[in-house]
């Protein structure tokens, strides 16, 4: 074919495509897929016979309930609620116990240091900085994780998660995202950094980018501690312990739902603007429900997830505790470096309903969300009275002493839910997208939303007072 002829064919192809697109309409793909499915069904009913009633009747019956248009969402919500309730209710006592034993060990270590007449700064650095920070991470985070992860893994093994994806598909489609995003979101409940890798299951680059950019609005386990502790300390105040537990659960579920709503909203805006496009068609396998191997699952998820996450937290928390203590104890002029930073951040933080300490903790806590709370506590402790923290009640006193109200707690939870992804997640986003621009965007979108939302809440409350 001559070059001219090739050019001619080229032009005609493009105009042919235009012509076809003019004739086409938005739901043509759905009609095609529907017809293919009907044909497959027709072929099968003509050629396939089942001698045993091995059509998985049980799975079909269960699916009729779990993926029902009426019951699907309420069941999902209640399962989520039950999961959080058990986590919150179950974590309280062991958290206190672990905190108490760490308090005891701290006392023993202090005595030992005095016996050895070790210098005051060494005691401060190792015990008040390093040990306390680590102890807090372990006692606050280990119990909820040890309960939440195995239960989540049981649901996963049972085969429920693909049904969640199925239920959510319609909503995701409406906002221009891919239904499989619910799976990466589920992963994000564990760890946002890991969820970045899991976004590979979404084939289309556009929808994958949506999943990556919005994953941060699902609270990872590093933020569970913060959410659960703050809501049980401040939101359930004034209720009896039984009712209080429900209020706490309600608050956490509300926060999670708010995060999901933000996810939908951001996906919708992006798919109308920077990441324009229609969601692609995909096949989702709904595997049969299986009885999970309870023992194995519990052991494996405890070891693989809880312990691994905890080790990571401790690894980052230890040096951060170190750094915080040094910042709090090295003086420039007559105030410590820490207080300089806090005072600098304070006016802005106050406008967001937070304080300078909290904002400083979020910034210093960039490497891992797990350490935001310990850093905050250490900062408070290093400047105020050095109360020994044996239980959650003492913990609340520290906050209240620093002027906390329920608004501070609520806004810290919101900021924690919405703020920039942790360092590891950012590194993974860069690895997955290979783009500094998108990594920066993935930092900016949540940060701006976190500032706007907390500012809005704070200003509204200030105005109403």
């Amino acid at each position: 074919m001559s070059a001219n002829g090739a050019h001619g064919a080229h032009m005609t192809l493009a105009s042919l495509y235009e012509k076809a697109q003019e004739m086409s309409n938005a739901n043509l793909r759905d009609q095609i897929v529907q017809q293919l499915y009907m044909k497959s069904q027709e072929l099968c009913s003509a050629s396939v016979t089942f001698s045993k009633t091995k059509r998985d009747v049980r799975t079909e019956k269960l699916d009729r309930i779990f993926t029902s248009p009426i019951w699907g969402f309420p069941i999902m919500m209640s399962l989520l609620g039950v999961l959080f309730y058990l986590t919150i209710a179950g974590a309280n006592v062991p958290s206190d116990l672990i905190a108490q034993s760490f308090g005891y060990i701290e006392g023993q270590l202090t005595t030992l240091f005095q016996l050895l007449s070790a210098p005051q700064w060494l005691h401060g650095l190792l015990i008040l900085g390093l040990f306390r920070g680590t102890a807090w991470v372990v006692s606050v985070m280990l119990p909820p994780m040890a309960i939440f992860f195995p239960m989540f893994a049981l649901l996963e093994n049972y085969g429920y998660l693909p049904r969640v994806a199925f239920n959510m598909d319609r909503v995701f489609k409406k906002v221009g995202a891919h239904g499989k995003m619910s799976l990466t979101m589920a992963m994000g409940f564990g760890c946002n950094a890991a969820a970045m890798m899991s976004s590979r299951i979404i084939e289309s680059p556009r929808e994958r980018m949506l999943a990556i950019l919005t994953n941060n609005f699902v609270p990872c386990n590093g933020r569970w501690g913060t959410l659960i502790v703050l809501s049980s300390l401040f939101m359930a105040a004034g209720f009896s312990s039984g009712v209080g537990m429900f209020v706490t659960t309600g608050t956490v579920v509300g926060i999670v739902l708010f995060g999901i709503m933000v996810t939908f909203f951001v996906s919708w805006v992006l798919s109308k603007t920077a990441l324009k496009g229609v969601p692609t068609h995909y096949t989702l396998e709904l595997p049969p429900y299986r009885r999970p191997k309870v023992f194995e699952t519990v052991i494996r998820s405890s070891l693989e997830r809880s312990l691994a996450v905890l080790m990571r937290a401790v690894k980052v928390a230890a040096p951060a505790g170190f750094a915080t203590w040094i910042l709090a104890n090295v003086n420039v002029g007559d105030t410590s470096v820490l207080l300089h930073i806090v005072h600098f951040l304070d006016p802005f933080a106050q406008a967001l309903g937070l304080d300078g300490y909290i904002l400083m903790a979020f910034i210093v806590g960039l490497p891992a969300n797990e350490i935001v709370m310990p850093i905050l506590l250490m900062a408070y402790l290093s400047t105020g009275s050095l109360t020994e923290v044996d239980n959650l009640g003492d913990l609340k006193q520290i906050f209240v002493d620093h002027g906390w109200t329920w608004l501070t707690a609520l806004n810290m939870m919101l900021f924690s839910l919405l703020h920039f992804p942790c360092g590891t997640t950012l590194v993974n986003i860069y690895k997955e997208t290979k783009s500094a621009k998108w990594t920066l965007i993935s930092f900016l979108i949540p940060t701006v939303i976190a500032i706007v939302v907390t500012w809005g809440v704070a200003q509204t409350v200030y105005y109403l007072r």
């Binding site: 493009a14 099968c44 003509a46 045993k52 084939e203 096949t283």
Partner: protein
């Protein structure tokens, strides 16, 4: 007369496609499945009745709507490289879902054999499949096998042999869509024929254009600019870089 034929293996993920590939070629290979990476296509050969058959293990996909790189690679191979036979491997235990892909492939080429794998598994679950009914309804040969134990291979070899030597021919009964879609296809088909040569089904291209398959449009333009000869040449490169 010794000849060489190219056979493409297509199918959903987890249908034992690679098991069949290894059983036929004796090569132990693995196919990468990650989208966004280099898609590796495994290749191997076997000899039957003095003819050499070159097997191409396409990426496992659920559909061929070019949603992903894998789907594009598989679709491009079937449509543009035009293998002598496209062997569609389907899972006997979930035939209904698997037939979807088979229905899409018979729209692209008549040289198709449907290979129902995992028959041992199906029998265990009390599933009986009448392949003759399927053959008649689909218009292409349907063969039942168990790749793991090489059961049914003799018939499969024989069917491939008869198809490549034109003893039998595939006459696919493609899916008829809703009347308004069929009308649009009928309107477009004559135009397609004037632009694209008759080695590719005009009905299929018309359907894909209606569906707004831009990646196919790009591919068609690219191949048309390269010139006719190259379109029909089977690629010797096994790594398809994205």
């Amino acid at each position: 007369m010794k000849r060489e034929y190219v056979i493409a293996l297509a199918g959903n993920p987890n249908t034992g496609k690679s098991t069949l590939f290894n059983a036929l070629t004796g090569l132990k290979q693995h196919t990468g499945n990650w989208a966004g990476k280099t898609v590796t296509i495994a290749e191997g050969t076997y000899v039957h009745k003095k003819n050499t058959y070159r097997l191409i293990d396409l990426p496992g996909t659920y559909s061929l709507f070019s949603n992903s790189t894998d789907e594009e690679v598989a679709r491009n191979y079937i449509v543009f490289e035009q293998p002598a036979v496209t062997l569609v491997v389907v899972d006997a235990t979930s035939l209904e879902r698997n037939l979807n892909l088979a229905l899409q492939i018979i729209e692209m080429t008549p040289n198709v054999i449907i290979c129902i794998n995992l028959m041992d598994e199906a029998e265990k679950r009390g599933i009986t499949i009448n392949e003759n009914v399927l053959t008649k309804k689909l218009g292409v040969p349907v063969v039942k096998i168990t790749a793991r134990s090489k059961k049914g291979f003799a018939l499969l070899f024989d069917t491939i042999d008869r198809l490549v030597s034109n003893v039998i021919q595939g006459t696919p009964n493609v899916v008829r869509y809703q009347p308004e879609i069929e009308e649009k296809i009928a309107k477009l088909e004559p135009f397609v024929r004037t632009v694209v040569n008759d080695t590719i089904s005009a009905r299929w291209i018309a359907l894909r254009l209606l569906d707004g398959d831009e990646s196919l449009l790009q591919e068609l333009m690219k191949r048309w600019n390269r010139g006719e000869e190259e379109i029909l040449c089977p690629q010797t490169e096994h790594m398809v870089h994205i």
